[in-house]
Symmetry: C2
Subunit: 224 residues, 2 copies
Amino acid sequence: MSDSITAPAEDYLKAIYDIERGGEAAATNDIAARLGIAAASVSGMIRRLADQGLISHERYKGTRLTAAGRKAALRTIRRHRVIEAYLARALGYPWDRVHEEAERLEHAASDELVDRMARAIGEPNIDPHGAPIPTREGDVDETPLRTLLDLRPGQRCRVVSVADEDADLLRYVAKLGLRPGAEAEIVERAPFDGPISIKVAPNDLPVQIGARLAGLMHVAPIAD
Amino acid sequence: MSDSITAPAEDYLKAIYDIERGGEAAATNDIAARLGIAAASVSGMIRRLADQGLISHERYKGTRLTAAGRKAALRTIRRHRVIEAYLARALGYPWDRVHEEAERLEHAASDELVDRMARAIGEPNIDPHGAPIPTREGDVDETPLRTLLDLRPGQRCRVVSVADEDADLLRYVAKLGLRPGAEAEIVERAPFDGPISIKVAPNDLPVQIGARLAGLMHVAPIAD
DNA sequence: AGAATAATTTAGGCTCTCCTAAATCCCTTC
DNA sequence: GAAGGGATTTAGGAGAGCCTAAATTATTCT
């Protein structure tokens, strides 16, 4: 079955898609780090995926998805995000635990199931973390997003999405009132990758955010 | 991870559980037939499952679940049947297609997800085919069931469950009006494994059923 | 009982996905 | 422009789960 995509292969494609969004071809080491496996194992899988025409790979240079690989990646990402949204909206899952469950279900759910789930909750365009859900046809908004690190003091912004799935981190973000949709205003930013001070609507509560976390908070500036 | 149960292993345990319900230890050949794999492959898996303490096996004699194996089998069966029920009731799946989808999801769904699904549809005790759903604690009704083949002409009965998952067969059963809960009366039975004539309520429509199908229809006699 | 037949197991192989250790390649720095 | 260091690939191996073909064991029939 050289044409069927296994569950591990789907995970590789997702990882490569994510890394490649940064512009560069995905480095073997980066793929390995993201999947939590040894780099040598990635080299092996890269050969198989290339044989299947899902990626193109230049030795020692990096990996890119082909059109077919991109399609497969987006199909898996759609499954993942629809499942996350369904778990949250239809089954009452807290937003910090939908990822783990979806990570397994995405490989087992049929397209029909995913479509039925999407329909049942009103065809959402974003998942519980604010990430856009690709359409059945594989279209997805890939506009580059700014993070809290890209704004200047005085700017107001709305939280679009949180680029991390760690449960503790997500709970912390929620505790700060910074779930997707929340509004905030930059107060100041300490130098040398120091923390960022913001005021969070609706009460303008002051909050300090470390640089790492701030870099994970995707935001859209609000023009006054 | 000698203590973790893989997806194929769960399928073996389910198969052994089903076969063992007939009273006898599960024969290697029967397991192979049910799973659609070669008997030699079953011998290999039997060793692994025995090493894990999930089954007991006497060479050339057959296989039985241990207490741990039975518990694992019932846990998988609960997942499967809850998922089937959920797909049918919450997502509008037709009863002839829930099995296939559940067959994959049962290995990916967490206990929490299964419990949330069960709660969402009112903690059902039976799946769409009428089979009993084990409780979280692993209790399940194992009363031996009669089939249409066990009744005599003149007896009335209620369909309890259909012991097959083939989509075409299930659609045919539904077309005859014999879904679980339906009532019928035996008219006569032709000899030599011939067809059975029944009248199906509420209109007492006459129906002929082959012996094989009749043997799959679990029924409970109705005392007049 | 002995021979044929059926059921089961063993032997040997294959694929997939992972691993560690040992090359190999690329690039930067001196 | 050579050397170091980091990234990548190759080599060799492991376990799970499947296969076919060949043994082995159990059972049934004469």
